[in-house]
């Protein structure tokens, strides 16, 4: 066993971290789509994940779309070429962006271990699950402060990738779909041994409340 392997024993690798993050994105996007009522409740089914009941879409088009997204996202995560993943909720009528769920992705740098010191212990799976659980609970609780979506809405997923990332032909450039007159709330974050995910939701301020 090599030294590096011994040092990283017990820690999840970059690929494993990318898989974890991709899975989180998948379930997080499904949970947001359910909580914000983008699709009717009949299009969702309950799945057990992270010790929670998470509603996951069973609409084949959505599932296929998310699978395509996540395949590319996992590749970019492995290559370290992704900065953000954004779920934008926009109206069907005017295509205005109402909400913007942003997940900032940062690579966790390996801290230099001095001679004689013990390396930093790996984050346990339970701790990781608890952090992700907290984010899902915040997503579920965000319904209480986010404005009620009364219009028919759809969604789009944006990926902030490095300019030198390899982009498949099924992807194209997009505008940032920013939210006008936005309020924003920072949610909890979680980190694996290789990635750190910070969540933030920006939403259009209700003009009647201003």
């Amino acid at each position: 066993m090599s030294v590096q392997a011994q040092l990283t024993k017990g820690k999840i690798s970059l690929e494993g971290s990318a898989r974890t993050v991709t899975e989180f994105f998948m379930y997080g996007i499904n949970s947001i789509l359910f909580q914000r009522g983008i699709y009717p409740i009949e299009d969702f089914e309950v799945q057990k994940k992270y010790g929670l009941d998470i509603w996951v879409s069973n609409d084949q088009q959505v599932v296929k779309y998310l699978d395509k997204i996540m395949a590319s996202v996992e590749e970019w995560l492995n290559a370290g070429k992704i900065n953000k993943l954004v779920l934008a909720v926009n109206t069907r009528e005017s295509r205005e962006t109402l909400e913007r769920w942003q997940f900032d992705v940062t690579l966790v740098e390996e801290e230099a271990v001095a001679a004689g010191e013990k390396p930093k212990p790996a984050k346990s799976e339970k701790a990781l699950r608890m952090e992700i659980q907290a984010i899902f609970r915040q997503i579920a609780a965000s319904v209480s402060f986010l404005p009620i979506i009364e219009e028919k809405c759809t969604f789009n997923i944006l990926v902030y990738a490095d300019s030198d990332a390899q982009v498949p032909t099924t992807w194209t450039d997009s505008d940032p779909l920013h939210v006008k007159n936005a309020e924003q709330v920072r949610l909890r974050s979680f980190s694996t041994d290789a990635h750190r995910i910070e969540a933030l939701v920006a939403y259009r301020r209700d003009p009647e409340l201003c």
């Binding site: 395509k68 934008a88 969604f155 944006l158 990738a161 490095d162 939210v179 936005a182 920072r186 920006a202």
Partner: protein, 875 residues
């Protein structure tokens, strides 16, 4: 001086008068007491033998000093070492001559009084500065209040605009809903018309099919009838030919017979029979001719009527009937076919027109989408320009901030740092991205934290110094109290010393008198009695001793009368002489100590003032630095919040390093494509329906008239191409002028235009009114200022400020407000200067509170200010 020794041993050897004399001598002629040094303290040592028996001088001195209980020893001891050292007696002057180099207590008192007056003047100036700062603060608060009011008004104006926009949007929404309802109605009507057309077409097709089947059946019947006719005709023709042949044969036979009769004209019998034959033949020919006519009639009937053709009755009328019916059917079929062709041509033309219209509509949609895209791009461009401007401004701000930072941070190192020509006046390199700015912000935050911690430590040290200052002030206060107490004690001691001095002088005079008396006794004894005088002398001595005791008792009673202030610790009657010396020494010592204490206090106060000034300076610097850092920290916090907000809203990213990607086939794009397609089809359908409505209008051209329809279509198409949003008006004007629908739209549009015009006119009018109102208000204020002598300033919070023409200072103003009810009852709210108002408190109470007359008060103030003016005063 008498040598020290046991007084009891000496009492037996020396007569009492000698003892008394020696005692008085010791009191009057004693030299100043010597001082005895012990460690750092020096105590007064009494070397007189009075009252000292069997003890050493030192012990006696200690006991005596213990009984004295000096005020210093009685005073509460301070814990501070400084006080301890100051309270410790350093020197004790026995001769009563103060040191020539030390200042006198009165001078020190004058010094302290002068310092107190200076401190008071400094405090007054600080208080004035504080008042001035409070006034500026109030002005700033009023300014903020006015800005807040302006912001509130701006917000209300924006809310009004928003409300107007909302109403306009609602009106447009109502129009849109109305149009959508109209569209739905038209769609329903179109569906009904389509259904009717389909039913009609079906009916026509059925009729055409039925007519075709009938025509086919008729053709078949006609063919059958023709065949039967041809057959019967051929039969009849054959029969006719046969009859004609027989007729010809009969005629030829008749001719032969006629020729034979002419040749054999004589035979009568033969002639009769021949005539019979001819008649029979003629009858037969006539019958045959009738048959032929009947057959021809039947044939004519058969050819004319196809219905009766099958009847096989070859009558001519039937044929004619059949032919007539057949002709009618054929003409009907031809008309139907012609109509069908016409309808097909119409349908084909319409299809071509629809295709052409769709193409044009697609072109139009593409152009409109292009225009929208261009507008969006223009909007984006404007937004980007605004963002670029904002970023440039921000860059300028950052540049200034960084320049300031460089100036602040590198002021010391500016001398040895060469200016970078590339970045001489440009911002610090590396701040061209939000990340770098964020890093800089983080670094600045760290610096601010460090400076804050430094400031906290400095504040802590300042607090410590302030505590030390406070304790020193308390010490000084205690010293001052101690000094006052010592001065009081010194005065009391001085008075007591004066009294004792008087008593001493009295005793000295008494002693002189007694000495003179003794000398007289001695001379009398020597001259007159010759040595026999012991009894009288003893009596006289006893009297004198009694007198001396009385005098001592009197002195003791006097000392006791002067001593209560000292707690009853006056020395006994045997210590008269030393007590005076001791009191004098003590007084001098106390004065010296007071002087030393005053000096030490002055020194300490000077040091304290220096330390205080240093700390105040440091505190001011630290406060200024803290304020500056706080302002910068707040600015950086605001900037960081703005940047974070931008990042959260999706605006902050660097397009040079980051790409924003989306799947081409995403739900939003799919939905938009579906909606675009649906919208396009609906728009096309709407246009078709509008066209249909135009065609169905009573004034429109009839659809049957192909030429007029085509002309109307061209007109409509031209109007649609020429003016996209005026589709109903132009088309209605040319094709359906009487359309209420298009008239409604035209009316709404014209009403909208007129309302917009009215709105613009009203805005202009309001701006003119406002300008005129401002001018008139300024004029009114000027008139009031010139005539009534007060400049009136209406503040944003509803109050009014009056500043007199003759006011000596700008802050000598009055602020009136109308109260909460706004009922016209004005009341004095305050003024620019509180001191000024306080100076006018009598006038305020007299005029406003008692008389309730603000004009009277203002007139009084005007007169006072006028009289207080320098020019007026000089006159």
């Amino acid at each position: 001086m008498l040598p020290p020794g046991d007084p009891a041993a000496r009492a037996g050897a020396v007569p009492p008068s000698t003892v008394i004399r020696s005692r008085f001598r010791s009191i009057t002629e004693r030299l100043p007491a010597t001082t005895l040094a012990r460690g750092t303290k020096r105590y007064l040592v009494d070397d007189s033998p009075n009252g000292i028996a069997g003890r050493t001088q030192q012990q006696q001195q200690q006991q005596w000093l213990g009984c004295l209980e000096t005020p210093i020893r009685l005073a509460p001891r301070q814990e501070t070492p400084l006080v301890d050292t100051l309270l410790r007696p350093q020197r004790l002057f026995a001769s009563g001559t103060p040191p020539s180099e030390s200042k006198s207590p009165s001078r020190s008192l004058l010094e302290s009084a002068r310092r107190d007056s200076e401190a008071k003047s400094a405090v007054e100036s600080l208080r004035r500065d504080a008042e001035r700062a409070k006034f500026e603060l109030r002005q700033v608060e009023m300014e903020r209040e006015r800005e807040r009011e302006e912001a509130l008004q701006q917000r209300q104006r924006l809310e009004r605009d928003l409300l107007a926009q909302t109403k306009r949007v609602e009106r447009l929404e109502r129009d849109r809903r109305w149009l959508a309802e109209q569209e739905e109605k038209l769609a329903e009507e179109r569906r009904a018309v389509d259904g009717e057309m389909a039913a009609l077409r079906q009916k026509c097709d059925a009729r055409v099919d039925k007519a075709a089947a009938a025509a086919h059946a008729l053709e078949k019947r006609l063919d059958d009838a023709n065949r039967a006719l041809r057959h019967s005709r051929s039969e009849h023709v054959g029969e006719i030919e046969r009859y004609q042949h027989r007729l010809a044969v009969a005629e030829s036979a008749a001719a032969e017979l006629r020729a034979g009769s002419s040749e054999g004209s004589g035979s009568v019998g033969g002639d009769a029979s021949l005539q019979c034959t001819i008649d029979a033949l003629r009858r037969e020919v006539h019958e045959k001719s009738q048959d032929v006519e009947e057959l021809q009639m039947r044939l004519r009937t058969l050819t004319s009527s196809s219905d009766d053709a099958a009847a096989a009755t070859p009558s001519r009328t039937r044929v004619a009937q059949l032919e007539r019916d057949l002709h009618e059917q054929c003409s009907y079929i031809q008309a139907v076919e012609q109509q069908n062709r016409q309808m097909r041509a119409d349908a084909q033309r319409l299809a071509e027109r629809a295709a052409k219209y769709e193409q044009e509509h697609e072109v139009n949609a593409a152009l409109s989408s292009k225009i929208e895209r261009l507008e969006q791009q223009q909007h984006d461009y404007a937004r980007l320009v605004a963002q670029v401007d904002a970023l440039q401004q921000e860059r300028e701000q950052w540049r200034r901030v960084l320049r300031d930072t460089d100036t602040d941070a590198g002021a010391s190192a500016a001398a040895d740092r060469k200016p970078d020509p590339a970045h001489g006046g440009s911002p610090v390199p590396g701040l061209d991205s939000p990340l770098a700015i964020a890093k800089t912000v983080a670094a600045q935050r760290h610096t601010i934290r460090v400076l804050e911690s430094k400031l906290e430590s400095m504040q802590y040290s300042a607090e410590t110094v302030a505590q030390q200052l406070q304790s020193a002030t308390q010490d000084a206060k205690l010293f001052r109290q101690e000094r006052a107490r010592l001065e009081e004690e010194a005065d009391a001691g001085r008075q007591r010393a004066t009294r004792l001095d008087g008593a001493r002088q009295h005793a000295v005079r008494e002693a002189e008198f007694l000495r003179a008396q003794l000398r007289s006794y001695d001379s009398e004894e020597a001259g007159l009695m010759g040595g026999n005088y012991d009894r009288q002398k003893a009596e006289r001595i006893a009297q004198l001793e009694q007198f001396i005791d009385e005098q001592r008792a009197r002195i003791a009673s006097m000392e006791q009368g002067a001593g209560p202030a000292e707690g009853g610790h006056a020395p006994g009657p045997q210590a008269d002489g030393p007590s005076t010396a001791l009191l004098r020494g003590y007084r001098e010592d106390a004065e010296a100590r007071l002087h030393e204490l005053a000096e030490a206090q002055a020194e300490h106060q000077r040091e304290l003032a220096d330390v205080q000034a240093g700390h105040q300076r440091e505190r001011d610097e630290a406060a200024a630095e803290y304020q500056r850092l706080l302002a910068r920290f707040e600015a950086l916090e605001r900037e960081a919040a703005r940047l974070e907000h931008q990042v959260g809203a999706g605006l902050g990213y660097d397009p040079r390093t980051t790409r924003i990607l989306q799947l081409i086939d995403n739900p939003s794009a799919q939905d938009f494509a579906i909606r675009s397609q649906k919208l396009t089809s609906l728009a096309a359908e709407n246009e078709a329906l509008l066209e249909r409505i135009r065609q169905l209008e009573p004034g429109a051209a009839k659809p049957a008239d192909a030429a007029s329809v085509g002309l109307a279509d061209e007109d409509t198409a031209d109007s649609g191409d020429g003016n996209g949003d005026d589709n109903g008006g132009g088309g209605g004007g040319s094709s359906g002028a009487g359309s209420a629908f298009f008239h409604t739209i035209d009316n709404l549009r014209s009403e909208n235009r007129s309302l917009t015009q009215q709105l613009e006119d009203s805005v202009k009018l309001i701006s003119r009114y406002r300008k005129e109102w401002r001018r008139k208000a300024a004029e009114l204020r000027e008139v009031v200022y010139l005539i009534l002598g007060y400049r009136v300033d209406f503040m944003t919070n509803g109050s009014v400020r009056f500043t007199s023409t003759y006011a000596a200072d700008v802050d000598q103003s009055f602020v009136f407000t109308s109260g909460d009810d706004n009922q016209g009852h004005m009341r004095l709210l305050g003024g620019g200067s509180k001191a000024y108002l306080k100076g006018l408190s009598n006038d305020i109470r007299y005029w406003i509170q008692e008389r309730g007359s603000i004009p009277g008060f203002l007139a009084t103030v005007t007169l006072q200010n006028f009289e207080a003016q320098p020019a007026q005063a000089s006159q």
